[in-house]
Every structure is written in C-alpha cells, then in structure tokens.
Symmetry: C2
C-alpha cells in the first residue's frame, strides 16, 4: 500500500475515468490527480489488437468500435487528439435471416428487408409507437416521464407481446435487444429501453449505420488510441496500471489532539448498493475474421448479416470490418441467448460454428480465412460483460436517483451514467466530463463559469434530495471485478487534508 | 492459509451448510468434513438475541422465526434436536390499513378484512387465477410449465396490472410481494412468484398463520438453536468460524514428475455466473419491541397489523412476539420500498416512526416500551439482505438449469435451491440434505439406497445436460459478501487426492 496523497483519485482508466482526469487537469492544473487502473492496460471496454491479415499484420478493435457524427463528445475528442474516422462500409446486399424457425434467407440493398404488407404495417406501427413513447422520456429524470412506473414495472418482452402482432416483428425486436444490450427482451425494463433510445436520439439510431446513427464511423487505428492519447496528455506518471482499488475509507479526523484517529468506512447508501446489485451486464463475444480478399464485396455483399438464434448459428450480426489500410475482415457478435449457448464451448467449436454460418450466408470463400480472433467480455475480470449494464424492471422506479448522486466525496462516471448516448463511447466521455465538473464545482468553483456551475447544479437536482446518507458503521469495498458497473465509475477526491484513504493492490 | 485436507468442505454454517455436513457425517462417518463460516457465529439468516424484557432478559429471533407443520424437513429436525414449537398468537382484532392514500383503518377478527362486494369479487378471482396457475408449475423444472417463457418475461406487477380491477386488491398484492420477498412487485418475475408459491403449497400459505401456513409456529428458545445444536452433533472442531473462503482452486496435477504444478482456477460456467448476477435479495429490517404488558391483548388486539407504505409509517406488518416465558413483545418488518426510504436514516428516527405508527394503530400504550431492537439484514456483510434472493424476469428462462447443477466437484445448497418451501428455513434444510446426497452419490454411492440414488439422479436431470463446463482459464473467486446468494451455497469435496484447494482468511 502506497502512502501517496492526491487531490483527486480517479478509479478506472477507461474513457470515462481518463476524460474526467483530463478535464480536471485542464481546468485546474494545480490539482494533483491520480488514475488507478486494475488492468495492465488503459481503455476499459475499448481495446485494439494486432491480428494477422492479408498484408502482414493490422489492427482491429476487439471492443467498442463505432462512433457517430451525432456523438458530439467523442467527435470533439477525436478532433482534439488528431485522430481520423472513416465510414462503416455498407454497400451491397445485406443478408437477413429472421422470422421463425422456417424463415428463408433474404437479401436486400434498401434500408429495410422486403416485408409482407402485414409485417411492414406491424413494423411501422410498433416503431411509431416506440418512437412516440421515446419522445416523452426525460433521460435525466426518467421517473418524471408519463406512465414511468407502469413502463418500469414491465419488460421489453411484455411490451412486445402486447403491441406486436406478427412473429416476424417480434423476432426483429428480440434481435434488437440482443444486439444492442447483449441481453434478451425479457431481461430489460421497458422504461430503461425507452430511456436508452432517448439518450441516443431514437431507437433506430441504436441499430443503423446511417448518418447520425450509432454504427456510422470507425476510428483509424482503433478506439483504444483515444485512451492512450489521453494518457499522454495527462502524463504517464499519473496513471497507475495493475492497481485494483479494494477499499475506500472516508476518514474524518477528530478535532481533538493526538488520540488515535477514528476511521469510519461508511458503506454506500442502500439505494446505491441495490442499484448496482441489479444491473446485469450484456453478454457479448466479438469476433474479427481476416481474409485474403474481401470476397463478399466482390460478390456484391455489404458484409452485413442479421440472423435469428438457431442451434447451429452462433452469430447475431456481422459487418464489414476491412481496415483503412485495406486488409479485408468481417466483424460479428455472439450475443444474448446465443452467448449463453456458445460461450462455455471450446473456441474451435465457436469458430467453426461462425465460419459455417458465414459459408451459408456468403458462400464457400468464407472458410478460407487467415485468422479468427474473438473476445468474450464476460470473461474479462474487470468488465464482466459488454457492451453495457442494463436495468431490470423496478430498478429505475426505486433506485434511479442514486445513479449519479455523489456519495460524500465520491462522484460517479461511466457510460451507464450518461444522458447522451448512454452505453456508448460518447456517453463514457460525457459522463467523465460531467463527474469532473461536479468535483471542480465543489473543490474550486472559481474554475467554472456561472453557466457551468448552473449545469452541475441542474444535473444534481435529479438526485433525490430528501434523503442523506447517514450510515457510518459497515465496511465499504469497491470490488470492481464483482460489481459489474464499477469500472471507471468512481471519481473520488481528497480535500486539502488527506481525509480520503485509498487502498490498492 | 491452512494446509489441512478434508474429503468435503462445506462453505457456510447456515442451516443449509450444517444440514449438509450432518447428513454427510451420518451416512458416512469415515468422511472428513469441515465447515467454513465467514461470520463469528453459526446460523446464517437465523440469529437469536437476548433483549431487555418485562421479567429481566429474554430471547428473540432477529432473523427467520416461523416454522409450519407442513414443513417436514424443519419439523423433523426440531424433533431430532429435542426442541419445541409453540403457535403464533393470533387471537383478537387484526388491524388493516390498505387501499390507497385515503384508506381507513379497519379492524377484523375473521380470516379476511371486510371488503366491499366488488373488492371481494376481485380478490377472489385473482387468487383463484393465481392458484390455478400455481398448480400448473413444476418447481423442479419451471421452464417445462405451460407459458413459462411468457410468465418469466413479465413481472408480478404486469400480471397485477392486467388481471386486477381494484386499487385495493392491487395494493394487497403489492404488500404481499413486499412482505414475502422484501421487494416490490415490479422487481420480481411472475414465473418466479408462481414457482415460489408452488414450493410452499400455495400463495396463501406464504401469508397466513393458519395450520400448514408459513407463520404457524415459533421455536422455543429461538431458531438459531437449530444451528447451534447441529454444530454440537457435527463437532465444534469441524466448524471453523471467521473463515471466509476467497478462492476455490480446482487443481489437476500433471502426470509428469516434479515439474511445477499447473494450477487451473476454472471460472464458474457463464450461465451460473449470470444467474447469481441477477438474484436481488430482499430488503428487510426486522424489529422486536418489548413491553411491560401485552396491552394489545388486553385491548382485544392480536398484534397483527398490515399497513400500506406512507411517509410517516415505516412498517409493513407486525405480529405478537410474546415469548414462551410470557415476556410481552411485538415483531415487525420494514420492507421493500419502505426499507429503501427508511434504512439510511438514524435508528432513532426509524424507532420513533415505528412507535408512532403503533400508537396510531394500537393506542398510546405502544409508546411505553422497554426496548426497541432492530436488524437490517442488508447491512450484514455475508447476507446482503433478507429473507431471500428472488429472480428478475428472464432469469428462470435462461439460467435456471444452472441453479442446482454441480460444477465439477462443487455442489450447491442454500434455501434458494430448494424445491419445497424455497426461501424458508425448511428449504435451507432440504437443500443442504439434497446437496449432501449428491456428494455421497458421487463419492460413496454404497452409502445410499437405490431409491436415494434414483432421487439424486432425478433431481440432477433438470440441470441442462447438453452443455458441459469447459472454460479452464480465468479466475474463480467465491466472494461471498458480494455474491449475495453464495452464503451456504457451496458444498465442495476433495477426492482421495488433494485436488481441490481452498483458500480462506
């Protein structure tokens, strides 16, 4: 255990934690900031890896990979750091294999598969209904939205059962939950789904590759660079890797003299504890397959496949992942119930299942790959899953106010706390910056403008003001590997005196 | 770290773990068994405490306290251990304050409050509907029940919204969820609710004090004695307190000679990991108030109060808790949303809120108590809450097979895994005995009869047979304080060779 002292300690060197550290430093260079990261690398749920490719070795993202022109926080960071984006490749036929066990494989080049008139009608009516509801949601304070309690008391699955007429569209929505959250529709609160859609500016944005949608651009050289370049700016000496925080003591020194310090280790408020108890994280394995040639393009395919779960097909969705340097590749995801069924098998079985599905959808050339690489985020000790922690029914209703509510000198970041593009890279950055502003507002308000101070106050307003946190007796462990949402979520700071002790290993 | 070796290590000295240890010993006295308990006491969620009372000091249960004639496992254990039960006192007027913010306080002595004809009709139809559904449920394999996926995809709240017409009955059911689970109806899978009711032999049994119901009897001297007396039988030297298991290594020794052992620490299968990720535990504070006289009996009250949540009333339900030696007391629960609203306040505030509610319902004598004692089980590091872990929607659908499925040489006990009176003391004993039988069936099948071996096989049949657990690379931490269901859940054993290593602190 080190005895160093800092003004602010950031727990987690993902995009949220690093954005918070950078913002603090920028606004007040006098502050001493230390970032502690459990892993031996920075980037959290973004990680880029060298893989064997057509022309030697090239880089691919094994975690978060897409950004969008509508994601202002990440686009600004990309500009600041001198990085470049390039569009997701989408030209050509898309493969669509959805609609019950006897569904036929469909190909389409338009924005939507060719549905029967009834299916199309159903699809349109349900999207319109969701869209309408999404527009009534306050992301900052979801419980103030109309019918909030009702919608939080039901699952996305219940909504689907009630408002969708056709099996085809039910399966489309089930796929949507699986692809977006890594979880099945029965596991997600409907209000949470609406809030998540609202934070992205609409449900379709979660799914599409069109301008403004979530899958619009990729980052040249990979998204982990965002974190690596932030570390360069912050200073390598201010980011400690392999430092897992195990305990946060919030210690008050009695005003009396040399008597042994009384050390309180206050537990988090019950509301916060229970919130983190029921935020299941998505289950997603990402794979990248490199090829000698982009045979799918040559055959007129875009590389996009959407497939229903079946016994012999592990994948839910794939896209073209050819690198900016022209090395052909496909990217895809094994997710939700498919992750459950495939994740405990041997890698070789999963790989063969993926390849044979690709052969079925794109042709025999799919079997002549150079390299198959996969990453099951559920097996990452400090993430537990990917892409995001969702809320089960009743969580928003009862515990939402504690989501961003500071606990004494502990402030919360992480993409799950974002109000714009919650769950995305962009949300991670927004949340980190917001947490930094909260800390600055308390430590050195003069470093903020009046408008910024007002914004901090407005953001904190939604945290239930009627209850303080008064329990002072039990232990407070921040076991980040187990509490799934914790990575990059804690921003804590020391006031002038060393009143806040961290233990790391 | 000790280097002792045992045939079977039982993790957790609650009723499930101790019942498992006792069963193992009884059936095969040659087996060396060690019980490891993180706390400095045995009994898990049962704990008895001396409190100041009318005649000096007397004992009350601060955890699980009721047993029933229909609970065969616990009743048999009580007989074996030479303990006695006595009936829950129920004579006199019951207080009922339910039915919207303007509800009037009602008194009744029948089995049900006097409802309006419409309310009564509504109550009857919904109970009949639930009862009918409960009878279709297979507790052993809930997913084989009719409409299982539909019911697991919805919350108890969704069912209520759909099938209850009156506010009054909606509030009754909400109270039922709060009292039985310590959670709100929107947080509980409807299929889980049906399974839980079925395991108890019907929904009303979860609520009533009638013969065969869950609140029929109390145990003279307290329920913790069950565990203490089990320890006497097992042998004190075979139960180690203050021994928190942190890691379970399942190590295989390579057949080659003196080369450094390869140590595998296999993670739990993903299914099991995800199941434990979303089993929120109830939120319940229990209080005991001792009085110089049982003034409520003198005034014709039974001591039973059922109250809707309101800003100034923390309690959901109370009962008479007068001791077998005649020391007057009341017992009550702060639970669900009321626990959320009151648990972070000072004890004195909660106490005063409880007392002033009792004054309102039972009269001014309620303020002249001798002692107020409370226990918030959410603040117990090794329980995290009380009375039981429930399943959120979608958990049964996707992860139920892993509930009782052994992982290599690790077997699962705990009341959450019971098929009779799941969540109760009785279920804890049943589950412990079942886990012991599984271990015996593998280690020394000759100690079981053919019928017993068949029963073990039948019970394991419901664990999905199609997938093995093949991941061998990541770390396996049994952090019992954080994984809420783990206390008393792991029964592990060593085969002839010391292949299974435990680390405890």
């Amino acid at each position: 255990m080190s005895e160093d002292q800092f003004d602010v300690v950031v727990v987690g060197a993902g995009l949220s934690g690093l954005s918070a550290a950078r913002r603090l430093q920028k606004r007040n260079p006098q502050l001493s900031v230390m970032v502690l990261e459990a892993r031996d690398r920075v980037g959290g749920r973004t990680v880029s890896k060298d893989l064997p490719a057509a022309n030697g070795v090239d880089q691919w993202d094994m975690g978060g990979q897409w950004v969008s022109s509508s994601q202002t926080h990440v686009m600004e960071l990309i500009r600041e750091l001198g990085l470049e984006v390039f569009p997701q490749y989408t030209e050509g036929k898309k493969v669509h294999h959805v609609g019950g066990p006897h569904a036929k494989i469909k190909m389409y080049t338009t924005s939507m598969p060719s549905y029967s008139p009834l299916t199309l009608l159903d699809f349109t009516q349900v999207l319109r209904r969701i869209d309408h509801l999404t527009q009534t949601i306050s992301v900052e304070d979801p419980m103030s939205s109309p019918n909030a309690e009702l919608y939080d008391g039901m699952t996305l699955h219940t909504f689907m059962e009630k408002h969708i007429w056709t099996t085809q569209v039910k399966e489309e929505l089930a796929l949507c939950s699986r692809i977006v959250f890594g979880l099945e529709a029965s596991q997600v609160s409907f209000l949470f789904f609406l809030m998540y859609s609202a934070a992205a500016g609409g449900t379709l944005r979660l799914l599409e590759t069109t301008p403004g949608s979530g899958q619009e651009f990729r980052v040249k050289g990979g998204t982990q660079q965002l974190s690596e370049k932030l570390v360069e700016q912050i200073g390598k000496e201010r980011v400690r890797l392999g430092a897992a925080v195990t305990t946060i003591y919030q210690v008050t020194t009695p005003s009396a003299l040399g008597s042994p310090q009384i050390r309180y280790e206050p537990a988090l408020p019950a509301e916060r504890q229970r919130l983190t108890q029921c935020l299941p994280v998505g289950h997603m394995t990402k794979f990248i397959i490199t090829y000698p040639t982009a045979f799918w393009k040559e055959k007129g395919f875009s590389g996009e496949i959407v497939a229903r779960p079946s016994e012999d097909c592990p994948l839910s969705v794939t896209f073209d992942a050819t690198s900016p340097r022209g090395n052909p590749a496909l990217v895809g995801f094994i997710t939700g119930v498919q992750a459950r069924d495939w994740c405990d098998r041997k890698m070789e079985e999963r790989r063969d299942g993926v390849i044979s599905s690709l052969v079925k959808y794109l042709g025999p050339e799919a079997s002549t790959y150079i390299h198959y690489e996969e990453k099951d985020w559920a097996k990452e000790e400090w993430s537990g899953g990917c892409p995001v922690n969702v809320m089960t029914p009743g969580m928003l209703t009862y515990y939402h106010p504690s989501l961003r509510k500071p606990f004494s000198r502990i402030h919360w970041a992480g993409t799950e706390t974002a109000t714009q593009w919650c769950g995305y890279i962009d949300g991670a950055i927004q949340a980190g910056q917001r947490a930094a502003m909260e800390v600055l507002a308390q430590m050195c308000p003069s470093s903020l403008s009046r408008e910024e101070l007002d914004a901090v106050r407005a953001s904190l307003k939604h945290s239930d003001p009627k209850k303080g946190s008064k329990c002072k007796s039990s232990k407070c462990y921040y076991l980040f590997g187990m509490v799934m949402t914790a990575a990059a979520l804690v921003t804590a700071y020391l006031l002038a005196k060393p009143e806040l002790g961290f233990q790391w290993t």
